[in-house]
Each structure stands twice: as C-alpha cells, then as structure tokens.
C-alpha cells in the first residue's frame, strides 16, 4: 500500500484529511540541475531508469542473437525466444503487415524504438515504487509524435516528391470547387491532428490511469485509517477498484504502445501509397 501510493506526496495530505490527487502529481520537485535544461525530477529519473533497463535487456538479447548467428546454433532458448517474440511482434504484426517486408524493414528501427519506449515508460505507472508513467508528462509523447510526423512526411516526399503534398492536400477525384472545403480539412487532419492526437492520446491515457489509481488508493488510505465504523468497509471497495484498475493499466500500457506504433505505421503506409 505504502509503495503503491509512493507518487502521492504525504506532506500535502494532512492527517485525517482526504486530499484528491492533483495535476501537481506530474510535476514533482526537481532533484538535480535545477534551473538548467537538464533539471532532473522523479519522472525524468524514471525515464532514465527505463532507458537503462531497455538497453540492458536488449543488449542481452542482441548478444544472444549474435552468438547464435556466429555459432550456427539456431535452436533458440527460452530467453532468446522471448526476445524474438517481442521484436517480431513489431516486425511482423505491425511493420510487415502494414508496409510489406521491404518498407517494413526500412522503417523498423523507428517503429521498434517507439513501441518499446512507450511500453517501457507506460508500464512504470503500475510498478511499485515508481508508480508513474514516463509518458504521463507531455515531453516524451511530443518527441515520439514528432518523430512519427517527420518520418511519415519523409516517407511521402521520398516516394512521391512534391506530389506527396499535392496528393495529400488535393485528393484526386474531388471536383475542383470542393477543394476550398476539402484542402483545409485535409491539411488539418493530416498535418496538424495526426501528431497532436498521437501525443495527447498517449499522455491523457497515462494521466487518467495514474489519477484513477492514486484516487483509489488514497481513498482506501483515508477510509481505512481515518474514517469511523462502517465507512472503513468502503476502503475494501476502493482497494478492489484500485487493484482492478492496476490490472487494467497493464492492458492500457500495452494497448497504447500498440496503438501509437500502429498509427505511425499506418501514416507511413498512407504516405507511401500511390493514391492518397
């Protein structure tokens, strides 16, 4: 319990008083380099921790792959198999499915990076002791959506040159007069809303999940410790909610990683397609 509510600042929650979680949750105090562009707070540390863990895990896998290639021992062990399934999920189920093998492999580094960053950063939201998602502050979603944005425009320009913008803004088969209406809509949806929705969908999901969990567990804390008699039973109810939402957050963490990567892939695919 104590660990699960670690993101909750005990000093703002006065004794015996129920304090709902606030947006301040996502702006913990700066620990180091205050006032510089490298100011570190808890969430930035969580991001660095996740980055380190991802590098350690995937280095182990990469070394295993290299060893397997070098020795010709092609029957994978359980650990290697797990790495293969993880990487193949992005490679086969997302990239190859949408883009085909050639283009899928071309954009695979970005897609793999996006998927595992989002999954890794999301999952910290339910890891005891961390309790907040690395993606719940807008910076990382903006960087990821920006990468997706740059990549799908790059893919379109590389494939069709300037015609990419013409195809995107002036879709074929529409009477010329309608372009007055269609072109602004297309511009808005393709070049503004795509990256914005990518970033906001991810961040809002993580913020909402975190607030729900904190709400459930602070309520449990309050009911069990500071309420009288029958109200203590509410604590059990709120705890059950918290537990169920924790499980739900695991699903959401995975689902948001999948959705972010899939949508990036679909945008690239739409840019590569001959007719927009």
């Amino acid at each position: 319990m104590l660990l699960l509510t670690a993101g909750f600042d005990p000093f703002t929650a006065g004794e015996g008083e129920f304090e709902p979680p606030t947006i301040g949750e996502f702006y913990p105090e700066v620990i180091a380099f205050e006032g510089t562009p490298f100011a570190l707070n808890r969430i930035m540390l969580i991001r660095l921790l996740v980055t380190t863990l991802l590098i350690v895990l995937f280095t182990l896998w990469a070394n295993r792959f290299r060893k397997s290639t070098a020795t010709g021992q092609f029957v994978p062990g359980r650990f290697q198999m797990f790495g293969e399934i993880s990487l193949n999920f992005v490679r086969k189920s997302i990239a190859h499915e949408q883009l085909g093998e050639k283009d899928g492999d071309r954009f695979l580094p970005l897609l793999t990076t996006i998927f595992f960053i989002v999954l890794g950063m999301n999952i910290t939201g339910i890891v005891p002791g961390l309790n907040i998602a690395g993606t719940s502050v807008i910076g990382l979603p903006i960087i990821l959506a920006g990468a997706a944005y740059v990549t799908f425009i790059y893919a379109g320009v590389k494939a069709h040159g300037v015609m990419f913008f013409k195809n995107a803004l002036f879709p074929a088969g529409v009477p010329k007069a309608f372009y007055v209406l269609v072109t602004p809509i297309e511009f808005l949806s393709t070049f503004i809303l795509r990256p914005v929705t990518l970033a906001l969908r991810l961040m809002m999901n993580m913020i909402a999940g975190h607030l729900l969990l904190v709400l459930c567990f602070t309520a449990t804390h309050f009911f069990v410790l500071y309420s009288d008699g029958a109200f203590k039973a509410f604590g059990l109810l709120t705890f059950t909610f918290g537990f169920v939402f924790t499980l739900f957050e695991i699903l959401v963490a995975f689902l948001q990683a999948y959705v972010f990567t899939l949508l990036t892939t679909v945008y690239i695919q739409l840019s590569l397609a001959d007719e927009h």
Binding site: I23, G83, T113, G139, I142
Partner: protein, 183 residues
C-alpha cells in the same frame, strides 16, 4: 473521463498546464529517444535480422541437403536394383548355355556310342563272315580230299570183289568216324 480529468486539473495552479512541456522534459525525452533509437538501429535490429536470416538460410540449406541425400539414396537403390537384374539375367544366361552345352555333349556322346556300337557290330559281322568263308574253304578242301580218298578206295576194291565193295564203304565210313572222333 475528460470531464473528470478536467475537474481534477482545475484546482491546480496556472503554471502547471500539462500540455505545455518544460524545457527539461523535452530535453530528457529527446535524449532518451535518441539513445534508444540509435541503440535499436545500430545494435539490436541488425543482430536480430542477421540471426533470423541465417536461421532461415540454415533451415533451407539443410532441407536442400536432405533432399539431395534422398535423391542420392534413391539413385543408389535404382543402381543396385539394375545391377541385381543384370546379375540375375547373366546367371540365367549362364545356366541356359550350360544346359545347352550339356545337351550338346550328351548328344555327341550318344552319337559316338552308337557309332562305336555300329562299328563293333560291323567288325563282328566281318569276322564272322571271314570265319565262315575260311570254314567253307577248309571244308571244301577236306571234302575234296575225302572224295578223292573214297574214289581211289572204291576203284581199288572194285577190282577184287563186289561184295567187298560194300564192306569197304562201311569200313571207310567207320574210319571217317574214328578220324573225326580222333580229331
């Protein structure tokens, strides 16, 4: 959900707008993203792809190898079968020729034997004929002599007595008999 969040967001200070990123937030996000992008691009994915490709190649290579071995074995079996058939045919031929040869030898022997028998029979016939001839010749000579003896005796007796002539003939015959017994 949005309304709920909105309500939760409301009581906070104006400085904490979750949609406006702090500089440090962007900086650290970019650092994290750049590190991981390079890491996946340079280290993880190339090794992964190489491993997958090498495995596919190995599996295909082994399949081809197995196919080749199978084809070789089939060829070997066909070869052996052909050789066996050839050997069997050869054996049959040898047997056949041996039988023919045996028959030929048998026929030759039979012919030889019958020729020999015919020759022997011929020889025997000739010998018998020769003996008969010599017997006839000797008999003829003896009968001549005997006839001469008889004639001379008859002539000598006739001069004396007719009666004596008959006794002389009987005596001659008796002598003849004695002679033949003596001989």
């Amino acid at each position: 959900m949005t309304i709920g969040i909105h309500e939760l967001l409301m009581p906070t200070s104006a400085s904490a707008n979750p949609l406006i990123p702090a500089v440090a937030d962007i900086v650290w996000s970019a650092v994290v993203f750049a590190i991981l992008l390079v890491f996946f691009w340079v280290k993880v994915l190339p090794n992964f792809k190489k491993n997958i490709d090498a495995r596919t190649e190995a599996i295909e290579g082994r399949l081809a190898q197995a196919e080749k071995a199978q084809a070789e074995a089939a060829a070997k079996t066909a070869n052996i079968e052909a050789e066996q058939a050839e050997a069997r045919a050869e054996a049959a031929q040898i047997r056949e020729s041996a039988r023919a040869e045996g028959a030929a030898i048998l026929a030759e022997l039979k012919e030889q034997a019958s020729l020999e028998a015919a020759r022997m029979a011929e020889t025997a016939k000739k010998q018998i004929e020769a003996e008969r001839q010599s017997a006839i010749i000797s008999l003829r000579a003896e009968v001549g002599a005997l006839a001469l003896d008889l004639a001379s005796a008859v002539v000598a007796q006739n001069l004396k007595d007719d009666k004596n002539a008959s006794s002389m003939v009987s005596g001659f015959l008796a002598d003849l008999e004695k002679d033949s017994k003596k001989n």
